[in-house]
Subunit: 348 residues, 2 copies
């Protein structure tokens, strides 16, 4: 498989985004965040999405000259109107604001409306860690693939949550999970690679397992823990969508099927200042202790080691910083076509 | 099955708690919250726990004359030291403070340390709703029953989350869930009633299903969604425990086995003001719309209706307000013995 450096990837994404009218600055911020997604092993949420983003921009579904602004502001909270910008730009803005508020108030909770798909949830949950804060990010997914528990109408999305908790010597704990057994990005990656899905990811409308990702539109994702995962997806949707005046439930625009309409995507970010609760170094050392106790647990038969969330991604990042980011042949071909269509220099 | 009114139950609990040295005021607050748990159908978290609480109080594990106080305070956040009080009292105090902060700052995030088991999570997530706020409550469970994913050492608890979201005409959405397939309270209730558990709740150390609740100490609970539920339990534990200087992981004192030691239980409550984001009535009407769209979903074969979280509890509450709270014969006998031991008037 061919590989590229993170710099090459950033520059390629930036070229494509400026080619469709985005400012140099906004294209650079977006390209950095998208490339970081690939660097961290979020293969379904980085450059893989570029053709779709470009299509949306060209169709008018994403505003390339947005006025991202605070809609309402109260103490430790704010609501940001993303003006239909790329989600990465809206969330970068909202996260900076949440961090600023947390530095003053101990916590900052910033919701967004009129945003768009912003890549992997972990990107934003990790940002507050640089300021010795814990980050919590929740999003309304960009297409409904989940029915309410016991139902068949696609009213919910995978509505993911990410939480970033800094440690001292250990890599940080970074949880990034869909409230479904599999994220829809994984289904798309499987389809693009011509792979089958394991049973348990999806079900059809008659309750039968669905394993062919090219038939994904005929069925739905399954929530974690049955009714519990449904409950989490519902509550996260109310907090990230409804509370922000953003789309949720029947209002969600399927960004796979419709490239033109404003999605009014909702997300929120919480930054929580560690020093508001305890000494920062002490906290981080205690987190190290928790991580090491998990690692020290005896394992079930057949399990090589116990891991903590974020560990796999951290390992991939170190590998890719050294050896480059692999670009799957199917994706390479799509990016080649994209570059040709935009009359810009190819990635590979 | 015999039934009691909520008033009878409150008075009985209050009598027992004052008999072991609690002040009238603290006994009343605790009794109201414990009875509300039973009224709402949280049968494993209400009066069912009274014999255990009394045992802890008599053994010195719960402080009956606590000085519950703010340990640190910064803007929209605070850390409360519960001074080893009954968890209900600590969380009532912390939730009032979070609501007060949210009224000023849009959000209030209050963590607690040196608390104790506080009953069902929903009790606290529902309190902010009375002030047109959303409530989020997370606790470190009071005994470790969950290993890290792939491991066998009991380093984690069911670490539950509850979220309360008010609606307009519909009953509110109240999610109250353990991060395990079953809460340990359900295992205890099954044991006390002489019932078997379904497969999938627990596993033994060889990876085999465990269905006899009297053998619960030989195995462990299973997390929802495998590694995802483990990730949630871990992150909730860091937020509710470690960040508050409370016990987490190996430090957790099993309150079933040890009635003497301070548990240093950690919890947190977030109150989020709806009006900081949008018009309160509009939000509640939108939540009604979401609930109604879920109810209107076609169902899978064999499913009678789609429900939203909190619906079952709300229905039980209406029934029990009318017909009384049923007291299972096994529990009735335990409460009888308790009353005799405390030389106070029996419940039934």
């Amino acid at each position: 498989m061919q590989t590229v450096t993170v710099k090459q990837l950033e520059q390629f994404i930036q070229r494509c985004l400026t080619a469709v009218g985005m400012s140099e600055r906004n294209a650079r911020i977006t390209a950095e965040l998208m490339s970081e997604a690939d660097l961290n092993g979020s293969d379904g949420h980085g450059v893989f999405r570029l053709p779709q983003y470009v299509k949306r921009i060209r169709s008018g579904g994403i505003n390339v000259a947005p006025n991202i602004r605070v809609a309402t502001d109260k103490g430790a909270t704010a609501l940001v109107n993303g003006d239909d910008a790329m989600g990465h730009l809206v969330m970068r803005y909202a996260t900076d604001l949440a961090i600023e508020k947390a530095a003053e108030q101990g916590v900052g909770w910033v919701g967004v409306q009129h945003s768009n798909h912003a890549g992997p949830a972990a990107l934003y949950a990790k940002m507050p860690m640089q300021r010795d804060m814990i980050g919590i990010y929740v999003a309304v997914g960009s297409a409904n693939h989940l029915p309410p528990w016991g139902g068949t109408e696609l009213l919910l999305s995978t509505n993911p949550i990410a939480v970033g908790v800094p440690a001292y010597e250990e890599p940080p704990i970074v949880l990034d999970m869909a409230t479904t057994v599999a994220a829809y990005g994984k289904v798309k990656t499987a389809a693009q690679r011509g792979e089958q899905m394991p049973e348990g990811w999806m079900m059809d409308k008659f309750g039968k397992p669905l394993t062919d990702p090219t038939r994904a539109a005929e069925g739905f994702l399954l929530p974690i823990g049955g009714a519990k995962g449904y409950g989490l997806a519902l509550v996260f949707g109310l907090l990230a969508g409804t509370l922000n005046g953003a789309a949720f439930g029947r209002e969600v625009v399927d960004f796979n099927a419709d490239s033109r309409s404003s999605t009014n995507t909702g997300q929120f970010i919480v930054a929580l200042s560690i020093e508001a609760f305890m000494d920062v170094d002490q906290f981080k050392r205690n987190v190290d202790g928790v991580i090491r106790s998990m690692h020290a647990s005896p394992t079930l038969p057949g399990v090589d080691a116990v891991r903590v969330p974020g560990e796999r991604s951290h390992r991939i990042r170190l590998e890719r910083e050294k050896s480059g980011i692999p670009i799957h042949p199917g994706l390479a071909q799509q990016l080649d076509e994209l570059a040709r269509g935009l009359a810009t220099e190819a990635l590979l």
